[in-house]
Symmetry: D3
């Protein structure tokens, strides 16, 4: 079926029970404390890519384990005063790409930090530049099951921490107003956005589009599509009850629904009713459990995982203007 | 085979014989004269899309038949004097999209005109806004065979004319330096670029990336991929010798190789060795027949039709700086 | 699921609400009046294709806008008196083909008019010969969204009018009994059949097989398959609420369910339970809303869009004998 | 590659060496003698399918092993004197279908016998009615490897014999002129046509279109497509040198190239340059080895296995008129 | 949907009504009596395949019609006394393969008889060696519809009989304890296992994994996948009500659900929730109707048709140890 | 084309030039010295998996970096004296699986060590148990480009070292004759086999089947298939000349052709002419460059990447008997 998940009226009401470990908050506060203990500050190196109206900096900031994480910082060349900032996270397997790919927000007057995703950046697009210096146990190809045996080893524990540290970093940059920071991202970037929204204080706006990394159990039950399918692939090999329990336990520390419960900042979601990669019910599961005011959600009835795509820009500017300006 | 066409050493030497009708120049000079006879000037309406560093105008200019054709004109907000301009053409079945999708060239100090493609714009991306008020005879789905029975009726006669008129239009816009105009485009946009380069005088630079619409006969022989495959689909239905002859005759007025022979401006091509949509030999056929100095060509050995994609931006800025600044 | 739509017991009861514009009848009576005002009569040219038992005429009749539309008229060579006639419409993207492809009805004693579909005829089969001289706004490849911005511009307004005029034409041909005319078609041909049944008076039998062009809203919700998918493709690019509303409005003038409500002639439908191209519920939506007596419907439980195919011939002869002889 | 086989100029010269067993003629003369020894005559039962201009008989004739083989005989209702006849063989996995599917030749004044293929008729179309009462050793799904261990057991030994006996049968039918018989068929039907042309005396015309069952060794080397792929599938399981030798030996008794060498009647071939199912070089291998005058061959450069399809009808009538009238 | 069939709680309760012919038991007792009347005893020939710890015999035993059926018998080289035995049946289109492929059960101390499947063995794997000397009427490619017109002619009547005779054979072999015999198989092998469990007396354990050949009517309704899809393919050609009724009648003699009702031996099933080839509801239909104690069933939630695969070995050894040792 | 690579006669002569870094031997002798410096000995834990004729040990031995690597050691239960041993490596993305999957060689009297592949084991089969504790830079999904920026960081540097250490380990096990050790593997396992053959002294036999990891440059040029395609995917993102040069440099330390040049032990290869995953020319490139006597190579003309599969067992036993017994 083209619109294969619940109808919108049911989606609006969908608030499933999610397994949440008792020590979820402890796990994450410990994780963040540990990362911040490595200290360090963002380093900026001006990148001349031929623009006259915008400036670009090649940023390196300390992420999980103090590991250096790369980002592009793009800012208006002709603007004054501390700028509001948007931190953006990339989709699965892309990297931060080339600096000129992300000009819209800076052209609209924001400081825009595009975070690289560690270890990724060779699947599509123009590439990334951030290693993930941590190995893993047996895993299916991709990133969903790297470190699946223990939440402390899982890839997304590191990435979500990088995301929180990116917010820390942008706040520490000269010319950025630390009180006016938003986070945004599409797909995997949307999942990181939600996680960071649940883990960072004082954000002013949260913009997850067709977010991934939410409600894993339902996702693998209703869709074959990758990357949720990597979990299926792992479990289809590791068939023991122990492996299954261990897998769900690890993922329960990384579920967007649990982060959403803790998120307080105003949020604007989007989802698409033909999206088999990040099915709408998994998106609504996070949105309907939002800790703060129930977020707006734009629904694209005739789109797959591309969702609103370029149509999001105007909506984002509107929402940012309302909350950051 | 991954690299399925000729090896680079052969590509460099590949200068095939192309059927060219005796009245090719007459056909096109008549076509352009007719279009220009409709007169009209570009109309600009400022579009506020929330940018502070760049300005956007919604442009309407007279194309083939005097039909209104849409475009986005993006310019630096903080620049002086008549600007050099780049006219860009879109890929197959896309439209001019949303204005904020095309910021790089303006951010680098150019006036950038993104032409809409008539009748297209509902296949992918964010859409188009230009009708094609001309009907057609029996055709396979798509645009390659609309009007295939006669070159005067063919869809690309109208589109190439729109492209020439887009150059005319940008030259007539206040604040644009009419002596410093370049044309650019990818895939179909690259094909239009080559055609316009063969039909417009005084261009300063030509930037065709993985261009489509070149050397049709070879294309249908070596690739199944669409849109060249639309020709195959048409001929696989219209099996008579007359239909075949008529089809090749019509296309002989529209072949990028013939336009390339007439093109004099400096050009920078790109091609990809795994590109089954616009096979490298069809690209080299145009490049090797260039009327002016033999163009540079960047070869991407491990890419398909995406070619250099975002990697082209830096190369374009370099080439434009050399020829337009 | 192989049988993916409702079970037959539900299909039998399925009578959904369909949006119908208040001026539907006015729209169509105006359209037909306008077309008929062009006047003109069918022209027949005897085609010698080597048959001794049947005769073939190459017919040209005035369709929408008075445009010339082609058809094949096949008749028994050895028959007397005014003949009952069957007007048949072709499937999506086919044309009238070659004359010898349609011999069965003539061999059974009917005058058989096979109407060409304007603009189509290069997708499969042996081709068509009727241009569509009207252009369109931005559209996805194919015919479903040509003129989608306004019902007056839509492709199927022209085609349905051609269909009504084909009935007019056959009635004006010497040797045809104007009181004994039936319409028939498969897929797109079935959709045209239903439209003509709702727009032409005095038909004696209506034979839609696996008809297309019915209940568009449900179709795009439950199937990804083309050509309904062209609507989805269009909307997936044109994402604004206005574009969506405009699209549904245009299609509401072209929905087989609304034509069915107005149809009075006896009808024999067919549908197939594994047909994802024209899902059975969209077919039943038209059949269950039939203006005249509730039509018979033959259900093929193990077929896809091919439906009954050649098995329909005997059923058609039976039904035609009952109603036309 | 779209045109993946040799260019036409090479195809015209292609006369490969084919393994031919020393006792090929003995094998087949014995086979036919054995089949004819079963005796029997065709039985006709008039089938009323509602036609007034043509008559249809349901025919049963003795094939290989004297097994009853079904066919449809269609004739003009209004014709005199002994008629010339065309015996047609069906494509792979189809059956004789329904009687009204084959009207063209009868409408043109021929007696037309459409032979059913034993055991087939449930893959596509409207079905068949002839069992194959002979079992087989281990085989891959399909018919190519049934009885592959010994030429005497192979499926096509039985089918080719049925084909020869179909010619015998039609010659024995009242109202048919035994001296004016042609054979025709597409794909598998084309392969049977060639075999029968090599095994039957006195044929007046041979019409193989995109014929299958020729030059097996090359076919499996250059194409993955089924049904030649069934041989590959068999050999990919039965990997021993003995199995391979045995397989080629069996097929060497069934190769169209060997039958072509023995064929004397005038022939008209067709082939398509994008046909991966029956690659053009395998077709030319048979045509270029024809025993009689080098046959004409119509080449469809832009078609796959559908080849000329309906365009063949006019060519067939022309050729038949020349040789049978 | 990834888990496309009923949820486990519904599966546990699923006991559909199945058509069962009144003479089902008579049909099968007659069939077995007839087969046993051919007499004959298994013949063993020692096969030296280079093993020092196990022995292998190439077995030939009389199956349906007394036809010779092949099998591999593998036994521990260093074991005493009459051994318990496991008779195993192969998956669809595989053959008994090479002897060394089946070592686990023998290495665990069992006599292991791997039965070849007549006529199959050229689809995958290392091949088979048992002909099926019985022909068939028109059938779709594959084995599901060979002899579909009459249950007495159906392929699986012969195969199920072979399975019963394989149990008879192993009991007659020196060194095997006839009172301690189990049957096992995966997919088609699982279907044969269930049939044999319903037809053979005195079995000690039954091990069907992801069994095929159960609840045909539901299977074709909910899955497109082959080989159930062969039934759909047959019916999609043979569209008459008679053909459909005849088809279901034939299959009603061959349905695993009916065999399960008659089976008394302890059984251990397995199924996989993403198995579209043998959907879980069809497996549960057999398991929930088991004649003896309700069998255990292991459910693999994240697997397709591979089901538990190698994870079954330990479960099998456990179950066999409990019931055969 | 089904047989898409060179014909066998050319393959036999194919000895391409391969880039080999000047410090190749130094790189590897340093790598191995470093690994061996970690010391450690294999640890064996008896695994009772229910077998009576064979014994199984769960082995842990020190690999690259001294990291623990898992393996299964299977031996005859009833055998005397130090046994000859075969060390086997697994295919891409599989793990050592379950112990009972590998019984053939032990049943034939060999000690059989099945090495797990670090980090893999969740793609197919029954799983692995060896982590890869080393992270990586940006990489495409899969293992080919993990650490691609520097040969010292590359995944296969660790895996090949594990392989050499597996040979070291088996030689250190009680009951194994250290002078009679062979290495074997299929696909990735075959690539590791060749690497170990070039790096370990004193091997008695080398059995690479359809080996992967040879002649990378040609592989990516002629095939799209994964996992060679991971290199293409990486380069298609990382388009700079520097990235390309760096990639080829890294891979030049890991090319099977260079290892083959150093290998002295007798070897038996196999390849398949329809193998697009590990094209035959890449296999021959290694085989034709063998340091010792030119290895035998078994060619499977009708197989894809499955190659000889189970047919290899008999060939292996033969070759092992000749060289190890």
């Amino acid at each position: 079926m083209a619109q294969f998940d619940m109808p919108v009226t049911e989606l609006e009401q969908y608030t499933p029970e999610i397994d949440e470990p008792a020590d979820f908050d402890e796990f994450w506060s410990g994780t963040l404390a540990e990362a911040r203990a490595f200290g360090g500050a963002p380093e900026l190196e001006r990148a001349d890519i031929g623009l006259t109206q915008l400036t670009v900096d090649d940023v390196t900031f300390p992420g999980f384990g103090g590991h250096p994480v790369k980002a592009w910082l793009t800012r208006p060349a002709h603007a004054e005063g501390p700028l509001p900032a948007v931190v953006q996270f990339q989709g699965y397997n892309g990297g931060r790409g080339l600096a000129h790919e992300h000009l819209g927000l800076a052209a609209a007057g924001y400081a825009h930090l595009m975070m690289d995703t560690r270890g990724q950046g060779a699947g599509w697009g123009a590439g990334g530049a951030t290693p993930d210096p941590v190995g893993s146990g047996p895993s299916s190809p991709g990133y969903m099951t790297r470190g699946i045996e223990d939440p402390r080893d899982h890839f997304y524990r590191r990435v979500f921490t990088d995301g929180v540290r990116a917010v820390d970093a942008v706040r520490a940059i000269d010319g950025v107003d630390p009180d006016r920071v938003a986070v945004a991202g599409t797909s995997q970037g949307g999942g990181i956005t939600i996680a960071v929204a649940g883990l960072s204080d004082g954000l002013r706006a949260v913009l997850p589009d067709v977010p991934f990394l939410c409600h894993y159990r339902r996702a693998v039950r209703i869709t074959d599509a990758f990357p949720y399918g990597e979990i299926t692939q792992y479990l289809h090999v590791h068939r023991s009850a122990e492996a299954e329990a261990r897998t769900w336990r690890t993922l329960s520390y990384l579920d967007g629904v649990s982060f959403a419960r803790r998120a307080q900042a105003p949020a604007l979601f989007s989802t698409a009713l033909m999206d088999t990669v990040c099915p709408p019910s998994t998106v609504y599961a996070a949105r309907n459990n939002w800790g703060g005011a129930l977020p707006q959600i734009d629904v694209y009835p005739y789109n797959g995982h591309e969702g609103g795509a370029e149509y999001r820009f105007a909506r984002h500017l509107e929402f940012l203007a309302e909350h950051l300006m």
